[in-house]
């Protein structure tokens, strides 16, 4: 357990502890050098420090895969679950403990393949959680197998002559689910955008789905190389209710004002393949949040017994 957290608990201390981003890291992450997961971890740490979140009042839930080691490196409660099934665990946790800040970290195989069923339904439940899809378009931990988001034609150990199917687009899929409330895309090579997107996702009340594009240095080192090298083939979606990072104005000449309230435009933009688009595609803060919809007033143990006795009268002989 982190000594940082323990010092926090010094209740006699008058001093209010101020967390730095590094206070949220527990140990050195065991990802490969150049892994996109580092970018996501750094952005998250920055967000936690910005929000000054108490380490014990948040939980990071993950599945299985390289990116799912994420919770081990964050000074918070963590649940490193089973492959594809972070979302049900996170949903249960949120139902039991709505006051906790819940973050979910999944990889592309985790979320869009083995966990695809849960992804659809968790989106529809719209429990308030920040959901990170760390998408490097490949299975890394099991060593280079095609995932649903691997680009068509891209070679891997399971598709040595190139992936035969068109890649699944997680944005289009999520935007097609009833009650989806927040859908965004960002990339690890634009850290300020990544951070700003996570900030918006955290602030959104509901299921905030953020696809983070990143490379795997071992197996997909060049998957986004063109976009990394040439900002002119990327378009930023900007809006006062979306993400707008002024410092990116010079680098990215394609900037489109897109109101994230507009689901039709969001779907149309997600479908277009002319350019890569980063930003908030859709956001509706007014949609019902599952744990709020299901909330009922607590009942004391004594009161439960009174009601049980009434219930049993019905079965009385």
């Amino acid at each position: 357990m982190s000594s940082v957290a323990i010092s926090l608990l010094d209740l006699d201390s008058e001093e209010i502890k101020c967390f730095e981003a590094e206070d949220y890291q527990t140990r050195v992450a065991k990802w490969c050098a150049g892994c996109g997961d580092f970018g996501a971890l750094n952005a998250v740490k920055r967000l936690l420090a910005k929000e000054q979140l108490q380490p014990e009042k948040m939980a990071f839930v993950s599945g299985i895969g390289c990116s799912s080691r994420f919770p081990h490196y964050v000074n918070a409660y963590g649940f490193h679950g089973i492959h594809g099934r972070a979302l049900p665990i996170a949903t249960g946790l949120k139902l039991a403990r709505p006051e906790l800040d819940v973050f979910v970290v999944m990889g592309d195989g985790d979320c869009t393949s083995i966990g695809a069923g849960h992804w659809i339904h968790a989106t529809r439940y719209n429990a308030d959680m920040t959901v990170l899809l760390l998408d490097n378009a490949i299975y890394g931990l099991t060593k280079n197998q095609t995932s649903p988001t691997t680009p068509q034609g891209y070679a891997s150990n399971t598709s040595p002559r190139g992936s035969v199917l068109p890649a699944l687009d997680p944005l289009q899929a999520t935007l097609g689910i009833s009650n989806a409330s927040f859908v965004a895309q960002t990339a690890d090579w634009v850290p300020v955008h990544l951070y700003a997107t996570l900030q918006a996702a955290y602030e959104h009340p509901g299921f905030s789905f953020v696809r983070i594009l990143q490379r795997c240095p071992k197996f997909t080192p060049d998957v986004f190389l063109d976009n990394v090298k040439n900002p002119d083939i990327t378009e930023l979606l900007i809006h006062e209710n979306g993400v707008d990072v002024p410092s990116l104005e010079k680098l990215y000449k394609h900037r489109r004002v897109h109101d994230p309230k507009n689901i039709d435009d969001a779907r149309a933009l997600a479908q277009r393949t002319d350019m890569l688009r980063l930003g908030i595609f859709f956001r509706d803060d007014s949609l019902p949040v599952y744990e709020e919809v299901r909330a009922v007033p607590p009942v004391s143990a004594e009161e439960k017994i009174v009601r049980l006795n009434e219930e049993f009268d019905r079965y009385g002989v």
């Binding site: 099934r85 049900p88 906790l100 339904h121 009922v296 017994i305």
Partner: protein, 622 residues
């Protein structure tokens, strides 16, 4: 029937069947009749006969829906042997029960009169053939104009014949009409008063018809109970038990025959501050329950065989991370989709060993409907105390069977204690296993200073992923140790009958009543037979080897599959055994035999009795 003298026969018990097409309300009729018998002080056990389909084609041998009610002066612990009286709405559903050998040779059968001379030739033919097939027995057939009489009160006989039938039973068994009226009013409480009125009128018409036309009645005395009692089925008992145990989150996915537990919970749990989450699949239901438990609520997931199979990986995760979780498995016939609506003790081995690696968990099998209720409370307590998974195995027999039991005296402590969420002292680790017991403090999110990441990977006391041999061995040993510690709190199982003899019958779960009734019969003939019904299957109750050693032979009786010695290729070497039999042989090194059967219905005392006699007379000694 001519105007007559009515013969009134006093009997200690009777078994009655109501047999209809699916959708004709047999369950409602039987439910009211069974509840009324219970409320009048009779011992009762009911069994549902349900097709897996909602409403299969009518008037066929596969459309049979019905209910068997065994009731008597004393306590009734099982569905007994063959039925003494049946009411059938058509010849085909009747024939289906005849083919299952469900009726006593002298069974009185009241059946619908319109089919014999029906305008449809196919129906007339079917009727004639059915009656011919059944003529091998000495049933007493009595034709009743059920539909005609029902139409005098309602326009659609489909929704009314069941109440007319209830009226026949009310008269034949001299049931208290005022209780029946109350039951009807309750069942139709959400409908208009007119609906209750019409239903009561139908019951009264049934009674009047029976009074005028039947020449017999049966009297079954009742002994007023000394203590306050309740009557319900096993699924209702489990649902109410979950609430009495303070469980506030139930995550489930629809599956027969478990779903009605969730129905019951859906109706009432919110007024106890809880909720039912209907998940997108069985796996997610386990995951949501686990997530809720991780958050500090002991959650419940409810399922049946195929669902248990799907939850396997999550159960292993719960065991690995030592998060308490209660799983209720209402067993049905397997493997695969199997027999969805019918009983089998199908999941013992899957519940015990369903995971790769060593995944120790507690498995409990309630024996009665009363135990269904209390096992939920026990399960929560064990799960929390030992940070473990507890699987409760009931079955379709307990799920839908209705029985009385002593009304529980609720205790606040059943609802569990608040989890210690005080700041974690420096140096306390997430798995600070006590060296002897493997037990450790459960630290839930929100606890200051307790941050750690639980993982399904092998881990050390700090919950850090660790692949070294020492950590893995230690983790496995500590998780296993908890079962041994729990076992040390259990008592040896009681023996029904003498503590030594020629044969000990060992059962588990719902078969207790039928086994003990069979043992009673054998003992009445001077046979040295006893029985022992296990509730704890993991860990097993202590002292079994010692108990078994006092008997010349030991045999399990189970509702699951085993090969028959003497069948082609089946030898002592190739024979595959009943599920408990395997477990007990491994556990005690005693050469147990087994008698098992998979008829898709509860075991009958008489069949168990025959197996006992056969085993004593023919079997080799243990």
């Amino acid at each position: 029937m001519a105007s007559k003298e009515t013969t009134i026969t006093a009997v200690p018990e009777h078994t009655v069947e109501i047999i209809t097409n699916s959708g004709e309300g047999a369950q409602k009729c039987a439910q009211i009749f069974g509840q009324t018998c219970a409320k009048m002080g009779n011992g009762v056990w009911t069994v549902e006969i349900i097709p897996a389909e909602i409403e299969p084609p009518h008037h066929t041998v596969t459309s049979t829906s019905g209910n068997i009610i065994r009731f008597g002066t004393d306590k009734v612990t099982n569905w007994g042997d063959r039925s003494k009286l049946a009411i059938a709405f058509n010849d085909q559903v009747l024939l289906s029960r005849h083919r299952l050998d469900s009726f006593a040779d002298d069974c009185i059968i009241l059946h619908e009169s319109i089919w014999e001379n029906h305008e449809d030739e196919a129906i007339r033919d079917g009727y004639a053939k059915a009656m011919k097939e059944m003529s091998s027995k000495n049933y007493r057939f009595i034709k009743v104009p059920i539909e005609e009489e029902t139409l005098k009160v309602v326009d659609n006989a489909q929704h009314g014949k069941n109440m007319f039938a209830l009226g026949l039973l009310t008269e034949i068994y001299q049931r208290d009409l005022s209780i029946i009226e109350k039951q009807i009013a309750y069942i139709f409480r959400t409908k208009s008063a007119k609906v209750t009125e019409l239903n009561v009128e139908l019951v009264k018409n049934g009674m009047a018809w029976a009074r005028e036309n039947l020449d017999f009645q049966f009297i079954i005395d009742s002994v007023p109970a000394e203590e306050s009692r309740v009557v319900m089925n096993g699924n209702q008992a489990c649902a109410l038990g979950a609430i009495a145990a303070g469980m506030e989150i139930c995550a489930m996915y629809p599956i027969t025959p478990a779903t009605s537990v969730s129905h019951e919970l859906c109706d009432i749990i919110e007024s106890y501050g809880g909720m039912v989450h209907q998940a997108e699949d069985e796996i997610a239901a386990a995951g949501v329950a686990l997530g809720a438990s991780y958050g500090g609520k002991v959650a419940l997931t409810v399922t049946s065989g195929p669902g248990l199979a799907l939850k396997t990986e999550f159960l292993a995760l719960a065991i690995m991370v030592e998060i308490p979780l209660v799983v209720l498995d209402v067993q049905r016939g397997g493997p695969s989709t199997g027999l969805p609506t019918k009983v089998e003790q199908s999941d013992l081995l899957a519940a015990l060993y369903g995971q790769p690696g060593d995944a120790p968990r507690v498995v409990i099998a309630p024996r009665t409907i009363e135990e269904c209720f209390h096992s939920m409370i026990t399960a929560r307590r064990i799960a929390e105390t030992f940070r473990c998974v507890v699987i409760i195995l009931t079955d379709a027999n307990l799920a839908t069977g209705v029985q009385q039991f002593t009304r529980p005296d609720f205790d606040e402590r059943w609802q569990g204690e608040l989890i210690d969420a005080s700041p974690v002292p420096e140096g306390l680790r997430p798995y600070d296993w006590d060296h002897d017991t493997g037990m450790s403090r459960r630290i839930i999110p929100g606890t200051p200073g307790g941050q750690h990441t639980v993982t399904g990977l092998a881990h050390d006391e700090e919950s850090r992923v660790s692949y070294d041999p020492g950590s893995n061995e230690r983790g496995q040993r500590m998780r296993s140790r908890k079962l041994a510690v729990f076992q040390s709190t259990l008592m040896p199982p009681p023996i029904y009958g003498d503590e030594e003899g020629d044969l000990l019958v060992v059962g588990w779960g719902s078969t207790q009543g039928a086994i003990e009734e069979a043992v009673d019969r054998a003992r009445a003939e001077g046979r040295k037979v006893s029985s022992c019904q296990l509730t704890f299957l993991s860990p097993l109750e202590p002292g079994l080897k010692e108990i078994f050693s006092k008997f010349r032979k030991v045999m399990t009786v189970e509702i699951n599959y085993s090969d028959n010695l003497g069948d082609p290729y089946i030898t002592e070497e190739t024979r595959r055994l009943g599920q408990l039999c395997w477990v007990l042989r491994a556990h005690t090194l005693v050469d147990l035999d087994c008698w098992t059967s998979v008829p898709g219905q509860p075991l009958r005392p008489n069949d168990i009795y025959n197996s006992i006699i056969e085993n004593i007379e023919n079997g080799s000694s243990t």
